[in-house]
């Protein structure tokens, strides 16, 4: 009997994307709050994310990094990344750890 393909979960995706950083801020994109939505259907991952600033020069590299990292996960057959600007990113979206690292107040202001 063939081995069943493991199902990828949202936790797997978020865990894997801790390996992808925003090179300018030097922090992973999950804790920076750049991920807006993760959709999984079968082995297909549909990810909606943003950048810290519109026109980020590293945008294509970050998207490429996301695609490459997720494609390595077992059970993933395709990755689609949509970059959106609405709602705009704000430091409020950062995790507590990221806010502490950048010495940003808890309310993100």
């Amino acid at each position: 009997m063939p081995e069943a393909t493991p199902m990828v979960t949202i936790e797997d995706v978020r865990g894997a994307l801790h390996d992808v950083i925003d090179p300018e801020l030097g922090f992973n994109i999950v804790d920076l709050g750049l991920l807006y939505d993760i959709g999984i259907e079968g082995g297909l991952i549909d990810l909606t994310m943003t950048m810290t600033t519109p026109g980020c020069p590293a945008q294509d590299y970050i998207v490429g990094g996301v695609e490459r990292r997720l494609a390595e996960l077992p059970g993933v057959s395709g990755v689609f990344v949509n970059v959106v600007w609405s709602p705009p990113w704000s430091p409020r979206r950062m995790s507590r750890a990221a806010k502490a690292h950048f010495r940003i107040r808890e309310d993100g202001e």
Binding site: G26, D31, F102, I104
Partner: protein, 452 residues
């Protein structure tokens, strides 16, 4: 579809390297005693020095940055990367011809050939680079505020180089008409105003409005204040230049009114810009800011001091007496200071994109900050601005030897900074740290202790 290559300007690092060489050559001429401060402003070697600093250093720096920056803010690529190379080659060849032409002034027939040819080649190079930048800028709708500043800056660039070419003909053609002779006699100040003000300053403001909030996580929207800076600045330079040039050619009594109004608008625009910059620093969410933005404060202080001194000197009727120190502070303090500090970040960023961008997601990568050694460079920026301040004081007190000595120190700082840029470009510090005993922690990208 991979669009990363479209967003990277392949020739920008080479343009920056050539610009830095020209800055060093310009400063070397000043230090040597062959040019200003030992000779008058119109002396051949001084003209060569000034054009090495403006065309060779600042213009190349600005165009190199725009070739990288415009596709990013517009989301549209340049028509071809080759425009940047053609611009670099044209500017360098034209500038070399101009510098030789200036040095041959005063009787040598070569000047009559080299200056107009060099000037024409620079104009063609500028048109080439400007056309490449205009394509994405014109297609972008709606245009961000920074794009409007760059468009205005490019218009003044065209005016500056055309005026310069006119002067090249007026200087070298004995039978130049009376209008050209009149323009040469009193129009040089407007060539300087169009170049240092309309072109360099408006463009630098536009670029800084993108870079400062981006790297300090400050609100990006500049609102009415940003628009006021744009309209007062662009309108002020346009009015002062149009009225001033018309006044230089025709004896019109009323022409002084729009010229003065234009100058007032420029001072107001620069003052409002500094207020806005202070707002960006104050409203930043990133409390610990990086060296390039800390050091840029030196450039903003230079600009503020220049504006205050110019306003006071104009009111006291002593503008001509203070012109050398004003030009020094504006050119080497504000424009070059901002350029050198932002270059520190841009080079590291370009290096990261080129070296590590495609490794992201595959393997641990360093941060952009890991490609530089801020502790080492901080002292160099302090040395540069301190030496410049000393040079300004020496100029104000009419001490050419002390001015040259201070400029020699600033050149030393520039050369050591250039070594830091080269190290960032080669990934020197990243390699150095990742091979050390503490590798694999902060140098390599995965920040520990933040995994939920």
């Amino acid at each position: 579809m991979n669009t990363t290559a479209d967003r990277l300007s392949r020739w920008t690092p080479s343009i920056f390297a050539c610009a830095l060489v020209n800055l060093a050559l310009g400063l070397l001429l000043a230090i040597s005693g062959l040019a200003w401060p030992e000779t008058p402003a119109g002396a051949p070697a001084t003209l060569a020095m000034v054009h090495l600093l403006t065309i060779g250093w600042l213009m190349l720096l600005m165009l190199g940055a725009l070739f990288q920056f415009v596709p990013v803010i517009t989301g549209r690529k340049l028509p071809s990367q080759w425009f940047a190379l053609a611009t670099l080659v044209g500017v360098e060849l034209g500038l070399a011809s101009m510098v030789c032409g200036f040095l041959a002034l005063g009787g040598n027939a070569l000047a009559a050939v080299l200056l107009p040819i060099g000037g024409s080649v620079v104009v063609i190079a500028v048109l080439t680079g400007g056309a490449a930048l205009l394509v994405p800028l014109m297609r972008k709708r709606p245009r961000p505020l920074s794009a409007w500043f760059i468009l205005a800056g490019l218009a003044f660039l065209l005016l500056t180089v055309l005026l310069g070419l006119t002067f090249a003909f007026a200087l070298t053609v004995p039978s130049a008409g009376p209008l050209l002779a009149l323009l040469l006699a009193s129009g040089v100040a407007y060539h300087v105003l169009a170049g240092l003000g309309g072109w360099f300053t408006l463009t630098a403001i536009g670029v800084s409005y993108e870079l400062l909030p981006m790297f300090m996580l400050a609100p990006h929207e500049r609102g009415r204040l940003g628009k006021a800076v744009l309209w007062l600045g662009a309108g002020g330079f346009a009015a002062a230049l149009a009225a001033g040039l018309a006044g230089a050619l025709w004896p019109l009594r009323w022409i002084g009114v729009p010229e003065q109004a234009g100058r007032l608008a420029i001072v107001l625009a620069l003052a409002l810009y500094l207020v806005d910059v202070a707002r960006i620093y104050h409203d930043r969410r990133r409390r610990q800011i990086e060296l390039h933005n800390r050091a840029a404060v030196g450039a903003f202080i230079s600009l503020g001091f220049t504006v205050l001194l110019a306003a006071w000197a104009a009111a006291a009727g002593r503008l001509a007496a203070f012109a050398p120190v004003l030009v020094l502070l504006f050119l080497l303090g504000w424009l070059s200071g901002l350029g050198l500090t932002q270059l520190y970040k841009i080079v590291a960023f370009l290096s990261w994109l080129q070296r590590f961008g495609n490794r992201l997601g595959r393997a641990p990568v360093p941060r952009v900050q890991d490609l530089v050694n801020e502790q080492r460079a901080a002292g160099l920026f302090a040395l540069y601005f301190t030496a410049l301040g000393a040079a300004a004081v020496a100029v104000a007190f009419g001490q050419p030897v002390a001015t040259r000595a201070a400029l020699a120190v600033s050149l030393l700082a520039v050369l050591l900074l250039a070594r830091e840029y080269a190290r960032a470009w080669r990934g020197y510090y990243a390699v150095d740290r990742s091979s050390g005993p503490s590798s694999g922690t902060t140098t390599l990208s995965r920040i520990k202790g933040v995994h939920p």
